[in-house]
Symmetry: C2
Subunit: 475 residues, 2 copies
C-alpha cells in the first residue's frame, strides 16, 4: 500500500497504445437525411422519432415554460431514454500503485475516432442481456460484483438541456490484484494510474465524457497541495501513490469552507422553491421556431443544436453498419470554473443551473456553461463571469483543453474546458445564482447527486498536482 511501485505502463506507452487503437478501430460516418434512417421512424402522438424495436432512445418535442432566467417560453427537441445505464471503471492495486482499467472506444459522433472510455459503458439493454450471453465485456463485475468490491455507485445525470431526466450509474469497483492480473484482456483495454489519466485530460478530446463523469466521482486531491483535508475518509485508499500520512484528515476549522453545507442547502432550497419549470409534450413537427424537413430538425436561428442522421460503418462493433440520429452543435461551447484559494482552501465557484431535463429544477454546475459562447462574449447580455474566460492572464489558467461530449448522442460537439484560478485577494461582484464551495464540499455534493454533468466533467479535469500557468485562451 506504499507509494514505492511504478505504473504498469509509462505515459509514452499509453500514448502509443492509444495511437495503435486509433489505427485499429476505424469508422466511416456519413450524414444522411433524417428521412433515410433505417429502423428509426417518426410516429406516435405527439410525433416523435423512435427505433422500431422500442430500444435505445427516442427524440421527442418539448414545450418549456419557466419564470427563472431570461427566456420564459421555448420549444425544443429532447432525448428521452428512461433506462439507467452503467458507466463503470475497474480499479486494482499493482505493486502498491492503484490503476484504473480504461477502454479505447469509438463512437459515431466522436470527432477523432477512438477516445479513452470507462471499462464499461452499458445501456440497460446491454445490462439485461447479461444472463443471455453476448454481454458487454467486464459488465458482470458491476451487475453481480462477486469478488469485486464496489467503491462508488452513484446515480448521476446527463445534460439537462439535451436529455430528459436521464441518469446513469457511475461506478468504480475494485478487484484483487491476483484476479485483475488474470483477466482476459482484449487489446482495447489498458491499465493506467489516476495521475496518467489526469495527464491525458490535459490533451484535447482524448478522455471521453463518460470517463470524465465517473472520474469526477472519485475524490482526489489528498496531499496534493493546499487542500481542505476533510473530504470523506472512505476514499483515502483511492490514490495509493500518496504517502499514508497525507490521508489523515486535518482538523477542520468551522470556516474552512466559505459557506457551511447548510448555507448551500438553504440557497438551493430557496431557488428550488421560488421558481417554476413546466414541461409539456409537443409533436416534433410542431415546435415553435424549429424547422422540420426530411433532412434534419433545426432551429431557425442556426445557433442551437440540430437533430441530424448518420450512417455508420465500423470494424470494431458487434453491429457493423447502422444508422442513427445524433444532435449536432454549431461551434465550440465553453465549460468554465472559477477557482480561488480562500484562507488557503481551494474553492470553486458553483452555479445553480436550470435546464428543462433536470430532475431537480436547480442543480449545481460549473461557473459558466454555454454552447453558444461566441454569441455572448463582450455583450451586455453575456452570462455572469463569461468575459473572465475570454483572454485570461496566463497565470490564472489552471486548466484549458477542448473536450468532446458523448459521441453516442452528439455529433462533433466540443467545449472549451477551462479552470481559472483567481488571485486570492480578487473580489468578484456577487451573483444570486453562484456560490463558492470548497473542493471537499463539492465532492460531497457530487456523491449525493446535486452536481450536473457539466460541473462533474470539469471537476474531473482539476489536477492540483499539475504545473500551473500556460498560454491557453479562447481566442
Amino acid at each position: 500500500m506504499s507509494g514505492a511501485g511504478q505504473p504498469l505502463h509509462s505515459f509514452a506507452a499509453i500514448l502509443a497504445w492509444l495511437a495503435q487503437q486509433q489505427q485499429q478501430q476505424t469508422q466511416t460516418v456519413t450524414q444522411i437525411p433524417l428521412a433515410e434512417l433505417d429502423q428509426w421512424q417518426m410516429g406516435g402522438d405527439p410525433l416523435r422519432l423512435a427505433h422500431r424495436s422500442g430500444r435505445f432512445f427516442t427524440i421527442e418535442g418539448l414545450h418549456v415554460e419557466t419564470d427563472a432566467g431570461p427566456t420564459p417560453v421555448w420549444d425544443q427537441p429532447i432525448i428521452h431514454q428512461p433506462e439507467i445505464g452503467v458507466l463503470g471503471i475497474i480499479t486494482s492495486v499493482f505493486d502498491g500503485v492503484r490503476h484504473y482499467l480504461m477502454q479505447a472506444k469509438i463512437e459515431p459522433g466522436n470527432i477523432n475516432g477512438v477516445q479513452v472510455s470507462p471499462t464499461v459503458q452499458a445501456t440497460f439493454s446491454n445490462y439485461s442481456r447479461v444472463h443471455q450471453g453476448a454481454a458487454t465485456t467486464f459488465l458482470e463485475y458491476f451487475v453481480e460484483p462477486g469478488p469485486a468490491q464496489i467503491l462508488i455507485d452513484h446515480l448521476q445525470g446527463e445534460q439537462g438541456s439535451r436529455f430528459l431526466r436521464k441518469r446513469n450509474r457511475n461506478m468504480v469497483v475494485a478487484l484483487d490484484a491476483d484476479l485483475a492480473r488474470r483477466l482476459p484482456m482484449p487489446d482495447r483495454f489498458c491499465w493506467m494510474t489516476l495521475h496518467q489519466i489526469k495527464a491525458l485530460l490535459r490533451h484535447d478530446n482524448v478522455v471521453n465524457m463518460d470517463a470524465r463523469s465517473v472520474l469526477a466521482c472519485i475524490p482526489t486531491g489528498y496531499g496534493q497541495g493546499h487542500l481542505e483535508s476533510a473530504a470523506p475518509h472512505d476514499f483515502s485508499f483511492f490514490d495509493d501513490s500518496i504517502p499514508p500520512a497525507a490521508h489523515s484528515p486535518q482538523p477542520r476549522g468551522r470556516h474552512a469552507s466559505r459557506h457551511t453545507t447548510d448555507e448551500i442547502i438553504h440557497w438551493l432550497t430557496d431557488l428550488r422553491s421560488r421558481y417554476h419549470l413546466h414541461l409539456a409534450p409537443r409533436p416534433l413537427d410542431g415546435l415553435d421556431l424549429w424547422q422540420f424537413d426530411g433532412q434534419s430538425i433545426h432551429h431557425t436561428s442556426g445557433n442551437i443544436f440540430s437533430v441530424i442522421a448518420v450512417a455508420v460503418a465500423t470494424h470494431t462493433r458487434e453491429v457493423q453498419r447502422w444508422t442513427q440520429p445524433l444532435l449536432q452543435h454549431p461551434g465550440h461551447g465553453l465549460n468554465g470554473f472559477l477557482m480561488q484559494r480562500i484562507d488557503g482552501v481551494v474553492h470553486l465557484l458553483v452555479r445553480a443551473c436550470i435546464y428543462p431535463g433536470n430532475r431537480e429544477i436547480f442543480e449545481l454546475g460549473s461557473t459558466v456553461s454555454r454552447s453558444d459562447v461566441e454569441l455572448h462574449f463582450g455583450r451586455p447580455d453575456a452570462p455572469r463571469y463569461l468575459d473572465l474566460f475570454r483572454r485570461p492572464p496566463p497565470a490564472w489558467i489552471h486548466y484549458a483543453a477542448v473536450q468532446s461530449e458523448e459521441g453516442g448522442r452528439f455529433y462533433h460537439y466540443q467545449n472549451h474546458y477551462m479552470i481559472l484560478e483567481l488571485p486570492p485577494d480578487m473580489q468578484l461582484d456577487p451573483s444570486p445564482i453562484h456560490r463558492w464551495m470548497s473542493l471537499a464540499q463539492l465532492q460531497d455534493f457530487v456523491r449525493h447527486g446535486y452536481v450536473n454533468i457539466e460541473g462533474r466533467n470539469l471537476l474531473a479535469c482539476l489536477d492540483l498536482a499539475a504545473p500551473r500557468g500556460g498560454e491557453h485562451g479562447l481566442h
Copy 2:
C-alpha cells in the same frame, strides 16, 4: 452561551398553556357526503376533486405498476398539491438557553383539537399573500428573513402513499434575543426548549406532524450519551443547555458507522436502478376496487383509507366555516424504528421504502411503517421485523406513544410510534431493504432529502437523554 439559565416557562406552565388553548380554540367537525361539499367539485378529465378557486389541493386517481414489493398493480386516490409550503420554527437564546417558538393550532382532522405546531405552517397561497397584507403571523421571517438568520432550510417530502411528490420547506430561523423578546406575541404562541418539546413528544397526540418534521431536521444528541459525535458541527449551537465541551466532535474511527456513506449510497443506487415504478392518471370514478358514491370514495376491503368530506366550524381561523375533503384511516398504524448501539454508537435500522408519490423510487424510512398493522401481526406475510413490535420486552422500549398525522389532510389518523433498543449482542436476520445507519449518518441523509416523513417523524421522537424502559406495548 453557557447552560446556566432556566427555560422561560416551566413544563407545568406549558401544559397549562396548552390546556387553556384547548379551551379557547374549539371547532365542530361533522362528516358530510362528498356530494355536499361546498366550493369543491368533481370535474376534469380524468375526473378529479378540486376547489373551485384552483387553490389548495386536488384529489386525483392513480394507477400504479411496480416490480418491487408484493403488489404489482393497484389503483388509489392521491392528494396532489404541487406547491411548496413553509413549515418553520423561530428559535432564540434567552439567558443562555435556546428556545423554540411553538404554536397551538387546531386542524379539522385532529382527534383532540389543538396540537403543538411550528411557528408557521403556510401553503404557497399564504406565502404569496405576504406582500398584500393579511399574511400568516411571523411568515415574513422565513420568506424575507431580514434580521433572522436561517439555520435550516430543507425541502422535505410528505407521505408518498398519500401525496403525489409533495414537498415543503422545513425551516428553522434564529432571531436575536432582544428582537425576539419584543415580538408581538398572540396567546397561541409559546417559547419552549428542545428538551421540553421532547418531553411533550412522550405524550400522545400533543406535538403535530409538521412540528415533528421540522424537529427531525435539527441534529441533536451531542453529549447525550454514547453517541457518535461527528454530526455536522454547524449545528453545535442548537442546544445551548449542553456544556460547550460536549460539542467538540470526537475523533471518528473509520468504522464508527456500521456502513460507510458510500455503502449506503450504493445500496440505494442499486435498488433505484433495478426496480421500476410506473404511474398513470385514472378518473376518480374508475379506480379498480374503489367504490365511488355520493358519500365517500372507499376501498372494497375496508382496510385502506377513504376520501370523506367534513363541514368545519371554528372560532379561531380567518375563515369560520368551510367544508373540505379529508382522508380517513381505519384503526391505528405502526411507525417503528429498531435501534442498537453498535460498538457503542447509536444506530437505527433504516428501510428503503417505495411509495407511488415518492420523488425518488426508493427513499429512506423507519424500520416498519404500516397503516394496516393489525392485519399483519403474527402472519407469514407480515412485513419484516413487524412482530418485534408486538409485545416487546419493556427494557427495549426507548420510545412509545401514539401520534397524529397532518390534521389538515387526514381525519383522526393515528400511528403507534415506537423506538425499540435491541440488546447490543442481538443479531437480526439480514434484509435486502434494511440497513443500519448511525444517528449522525442518518441526520446527514435527512438534510440531503433522502429520508421520508415516516422516518423523520419518528426520528424527532428520539431522545437519548430520556429515561429508558416503560410498560408500553401495542396490545
